[in-house]
């Protein structure tokens, strides 16, 4: 490797050309490797991204029979892919909410003794209009509409 020895007299222009050639080859090699790595990791990144699943979009579900839920009690029912909380406040009044706590997505429950909705994860409470009473939830629960169709309770999205 004579070209690396400083004692060897080389014309100035030749050193410059040699340096340029080296730099160019290094860039080509590095660029080629970088480009090929990108082409390997792009499919991997796309693979890691989970495909969109068709969400069962539901506007209305039958939540059970009137006589199955006694006054001052609540139960969790399926509303599409998400849980909903159905509350029978008294003989005639019904309420329904999305059962997903607005704090960190836990599923809430009805507390019969205190007549409020409670989230066990971080002690958040909501009243029977879905408004936050205490605890960390930042927003009220989304309220759903309840209709009685004969002796069947039907929950639907509010419009």
């Amino acid at each position: 490797m004579q070209r690396n020895e400083p004692s060897q007299p080389v014309p100035d222009g030749a050193v410059g050309a040699e340096q340029n050639r080296r730099t160019l080859i290094s860039w080509l090699l590095g660029g080629g490797i970088a480009a090929s790595l990108a082409s390997f990791f792009y499919p991997v990144a796309r693979f890691l991204d989970p495909p969109q699943m068709a969400e069962a979009s539901v506007n209305e579900v039958a939540a059970g029979k009137v006589q199955d839920l006694k006054p001052n009690s609540g139960k969790i029912v399926r509303f599409g892919n998400k849980p909903a909380l159905l509350v029978r406040v008294n003989d005639t009044e019904w309420k329904a909410f999305s059962a997903v706590c607005t704090h960190l997505n836990c599923t809430v429950q009805y507390q019969e003794a205190r007549r409020e909705i409670w989230c066990a994860c971080h002690n958040g409470t909501y009243d029977l209009d879905g408004r936050v009473v205490s605890g960390p939830p930042p927003k009220p629960l989304e309220e759903l509409a309840v209709k009685l169709r004969g002796d069947e309770v039907v929950i639907s999205r509010r419009v």
Partner: protein
């Protein structure tokens, strides 16, 4: 502080704690002999590279695969049809598995024909044989995981062959199947073998194998005097060449996976007849065809058993190769080893092709 200074300081910091200089010196002094057979040195590296591909793509497949009879087939179909590039990842995993076993065979036979198994490399040979067995185990267990017709029946036959072994056979088959028959328990077991047991053993044995290669240095073929050989530095000269070989292998792998995507077939149905033309993966074909040829009874022995005894004998001869293929001075009965090697290559080659055609 200049960039150069910063680099030197960072290196020193890590060197003080990790001993980087020792590693660098080791790498600096590692050399590869240059001769007519140098090409064969690349196949160990190719096998290792394909193993890395298997590890990477295998982890990716694990993100979507579900190991249960009810969901396995559908989850693989989901990977191939719904997940972006899922077909490519699965196809690469299957093709790479096959190329890996092929590369391992080439690596093994190159070791035989260059007589690299000689003293002091007997343990390198033995760990290599164990690794080949592990790779075949990966192939056999991985084959069942998509839970399709072909793999279901191949596993039935494969575990049945194990059951015909004298003494331990039935117990071994029961252990492999997790019961009397191939079913849900088998899938769970094969999954556990494929993603936990075999990888752990493989890591250990690859580690020891590489350590032994490092310890003894590269072998030179018998008949070439090491003193007169030219050498090249492992790093960067050999390493960069190996890297280019890996790029080439990856190109072949990508092409095969893209042009001939691995098929999924039909979901396994235990209450249907075995499909016509069923046969195992190519690396089990020679044995499969041999067993087909042997009549059901030979003299007092069951044919199946005779075949297995033959394979067992052949395997024992092969595994102990470094111990019998040597003379009194340890210089090696190279011709005998070459003869056995040629015989085995011819047998495997011919019977694999016959098994494929018939």
């Amino acid at each position: 502080m200049s960039v150069k200074e910063l680099r030197a300081r960072t290196f020193d910091w890590f060197d003080e704690r990790l001993g980087l200089r020792e590693g660098r010196d080791l790498l600096d002094h590692k050399v590869v002999p240059v001769h007519a057979g140098t090409t064969w040195y690349y196949f160990g590296g190719i096998t290792l590279f394909l193993l890395a591909v298997q590890l990477g793509t295998g982890i990716l497949l694990l993100l979507y695969y579900r190991p249960s009879v009810a969901e396995a087939f559908d989850s693989v179909r989901f990977i191939m049809t719904r997940v972006e590039f899922g077909w490519l990842i699965r196809s690469i995993h299957s093709w790479s598995a096959n190329l890996l076993i092929f590369a391992a065979f080439v690596h093994m036979f190159s070791v035989v024909f260059t007589h690299a198994y000689r003293r002091p490399r007997e343990l390198t040979w033995l760990t290599g044989i164990v690794l080949l067995g592990l790779m075949l185990g990966f192939g056999f267990s991985g084959y069942l995981l998509p839970w399709n017709q072909i793999s279901y029946f191949a596993t039935k036959v494969g575990t049945d062959v194990a059951a015909t072994m004298p003494f331990a056979g039935p117990a071994l088959a029961r252990f492999l199947r997790g019961g009397e028959d191939v079913g849900a328990a088998t899938l769970t077991r094969f999954f556990a073998f494929h993603v936990a047991v075999l990888p752990m053993l493989t890591f250990a044995f690859v580690g020891v194998h590489l350590l032994l290669v490092q310890k003894a240095g590269m072998s030179t073929p018998s008949g070439i005097s090491p003193a007169r050989l030219a050498q090249m530095k492992f790093f960067p000269s050999f390493f960069l060449r190996e890297l280019m070989v890996w790029y080439g292998v990856l190109a072949i792998l990508g092409t095969l996976a893209a042009i001939f995507p691995w098929e999924l077939g039909q979901k396994a149905d235990p209450f249907s007849s075995a499909p016509a033309g069923i046969r195992p993966e190519w690396y089990f074909l020679a044995q499969f065809y041999t067993l087909k040829l042997i009549p059901s009874h030979v003299w007092f022995m069951e044919g199946e058993l005779l075949g297995l005894a033959g394979f067992g004998l052949l395997a024992a001869v092969w595994v102990t190769l470094p111990f019998w293929a040597k003379g009194r001075e340890g210089e090696g009965r190279t011709r005998l080893a070459t003869g056995v090697g040629v015989f085995l290559v011819c047998y495997l080659f011919a019977f694999t092709i016959l098994g494929y055609l018939k």
